[in-house]
Symmetry: C3
Subunit: 355 residues, 3 copies
């Protein structure tokens, strides 16, 4: 990182309840306690690292209020309510310094259709393409090489990173962040098998993305066959995720990397899907359900349930099966031994009968 | 959708065998029977929704010939042979209106090598790059920010959507549609381990894509080590699919999202691969075989087979195993109980012997 | 391929220990022994194809020194130490001819910030965007439509293919090759759940990529929360791979297509991860470990271990479980039969007791 803070600036952000020691270093980096060197800020975010504080060479350390200890010479300790939260505040400040929002305006290399309506406070970066009938709201930032197709609309304060694509007719509400290479509005995967060929079912719906949604790099969201594919407010989607046509995702969900959602599935609010999990078509994942990484969900999932495995079962059952699976070799041996004992018992029983 | 049809226009497309009722509304949307509102077209595509027709507020409803019922006031019913097929016809018309093919010509912002041969009926959109020796056939449409590398060739009527990439020497036949972010012709993943390092095996083959192929957003197709990676006519590939080097895919296959095919695998005609399925290197999936989602195929699959699981087994065996897996806890209990009973029987048998 | 070699040129590259026969054909293609036609070069790389040499119609065949046989009329045989290695040499030559390195310079359509420092021997292709404070080393080649963000740096001889993206502050050492659509430096996926919403944890670290690293098409590498996500020297990453924030990957690893590595995982040197495998967060895969395709690793893996399955177990145990799994139907039958026999034995035992 190419920014630096004086200790005083950190104090101003952190608002510590207590300060001990002082440092002449300016803070130019952030590092874990054991990796930190002079010029670094560090923090005690997890009690298991408590003993590392004493050894840390960080110039400035954020500590929870119950920590007891003294800084070394040239080292500054700040006691705060929640070191992780303060760290996020500092990182937020760094973010603004590292990539400041550029001045409003349209880069001369961008190709903008005449009928596009672009707010004067928006920034359209180099080599973007904006087609006919597009609406771009206040303070939006299209960074570079972004494509916005015919009739699409962006609300306010959206940030479209380099190479992201919003295809025709799709809409983004406010404060949506698309990471590089995201595709919003590719065709759904729909064909009729007619006379030995797959005939395309036209996909003329759109994608509607709620406010405060973030979508990770190279993820793809298909437009609906008709009507809309929907992503609810506050939902966060990681990289390389696939959302099929007519999927409806609720509010405040988390979809980890490489998740795939088949067409017409419904994901209710506050659902969490682990990395590489797959969800079958036309099923519903109930509110607040959790799905473990790599799980394959092929039936409706109850609200609040926790699923794992493929086909996905309740987490507890799947865990038990996974333990027992490892004991299968022993089980086969036991059954074989039982069968041999039975033969013996039968012989002896037969002798008894005869005898 | 920003298009509308008069009821007469819908009648002209649908060619109904019977009409009842009439509506003054223009049709501005398509929706399922229960979600539809005034101004919407709806349809009965599946008999289980038959009872919803009576309650539907759609202005116009497409019905199968065996449906019996009357429209409400201001509502129009059209009886047709196949409501789904008629809907596809209407959606096809909408598609043309929503994203009409632009006029032929080369956008001034595109960067075109002098030696490229571009048909006069083709459309090259803004900020495309076309390198030396490229051939672009009649009526091709490179939408925006498309890259076509040195010596590549496109047949007729191809549609390359924004940000799609066709690397050097690769060829597309006719009516190929690439969705945004598709990469055709990245290097295959081949290395020799020499003196503690992975030395690159040069990848100098190409990718050849047949006619009527469609490739989903951000999918990647690797060029062959030498010779060709091949996608057969009429095959449809969904989003985020990976095709390794020297893979040969037959005609009219369906590859669902996030499928991965390892190098030198052969997929014969009419194969269907479910989402997130993986196919190992150098194996063959026989004609018409089906592979369930998330399956991992590591051996040759017979023509017409249906595989599931990882490692993939026959669908029926895998389903049976999945049922039995859930009964493993009970099985372990039963075996334990048997062992205890055996101890009892042995004791009693020993008593008998002694007695 | 659009290049050709005379037989003499091939001899000059191959440096054979023995030559038999001759051909008037120029070599315009490479093919397997059975597929080869006149004008093709072929090779015997694997002894199981030995019998195909006699039938091959290739104009020129590379053979290992222990092969015994005679060429047909108009056919040339070259005996060499390692036919595969010689083939790689020839393919490397083809590569240089097919896509020669372009002359240094900056294409007039590229958009370059004034503060960027670009080596005079570098080539910046059409429609690239280079932001403020970027450093581009000697002989780098940014092919077309590449994005390099604020403060990023490239060493020497890097090749960034069309549409690849290096986000702000990230650094590439020497001879790094990014395939089309690669995203280096997207935000890590980190949120705090506060008052019913996911609040973004700012991601202000970077990605640092060692020398001789190659990254496949549309793969995504997240920047660290703070500090660095690291890819070690000589590591090769295939297409559509996801690398989470703060991941540290060692030297000379191979990550096959569609692998996903969760945040803060450590992958030590010489690790091989099969296609579609997943690695959980905060775990360590020890040096030289191998992970089979589609495996899900959720615990630390010992150096040199070989893991398979989800949850991943030792390869041998997982293989044994997979065999036994298929025998589960039989096992359930056997246990049922045992239970029935026990009932019989108990009855007979009870009779004995009574009798």
């Amino acid at each position: 990182m190419q920014v630096s803070f004086s200790p005083d600036e950190i104090v101003a952000i952190a608002k510590p309840s207590m300060i001990k020691g002082s440092t002449a270093d300016s803070i130019r980096g952030i590092a874990g306690l054991s990796a930190a060197a002079a010029g670094d800020l560090s923090f005690l975010g997890n009690n298991k690292y408590r003993l590392q504080v004493r050894e840390s060479r960080a110039s400035l350390v954020l500590l929870p209020v119950d920590y007891v200890g003294e800084p070394s010479v040239g080292q500054m300790f700040l006691w705060v309510e929640n070191p992780s939260t303060v760290l996020s505040l500092i990182c937020g400040r760094i973010e603004q310094l590292l990539w400041p929002k550029p001045a409003p305006g349209i880069h001369p290399s961008a190709v903008i259709a005449k009928s596009a309506r672009i707010a004067t406070s928006a920034t359209i970066g180099p080599l973007c393409v904006i087609e006919d009938g597009v609406t771009i709201g206040e303070r939006c930032h299209l960074q570079a090489q972004v494509f916005v197709g015919r009739g699409a609309s962006l609300g306010e304060d959206c940030w479209l990173q380099p190479g992201s694509i919003v295809a025709a007719e799709c809409s983004l509400h406010d404060r949506v962040r698309l990471h590089p290479g995201v595709v919003v509005g590719s065709d759904g995967f729909g064909y009729d098998f007619v006379r030995g060929r797959h005939e395309k079912v036209p996909q003329v719906g759109c994608v509607e993305i709620g406010s405060d949604v973030e979508i990770g790099a190279n993820s793809t969201l298909d437009r609906a066959r008709f009507s809309r594919t929907v992503i609810g407010d506050g939902t966060k989607i990681d990289n390389l995720v696939q959302i099929g046509h007519n999927v409806v995702i609720g509010k405040h969900c988390l979809l980890c990397a490489q998740v795939g959602i088949s067409g017409s599935a419904t994901i209710e609010d506050f659902v969490v899907l682990g990395g590489q999990a797959g969800v079958g078509g036309h099923i519903t994942i109930g509110k607040g359900a959790k799905v473990a990484g790599q799980a394959g969900v092929t039936f409706d999932a109850d609200p609040g349930s926790f699923l794992k495995g493929n086909p996905a079962l309740s987490f507890q059952l799947e865990q038990r099966i996974n333990v027992l699976k490892q004991r299968l070799p022993g089980l086969f041996d036991r059954v074989k031994s039982i069968e041999e004992q039975l033969v013996g018992l039968k012989k002896s029983s037969a002798r008894d009968e005869v005898g």
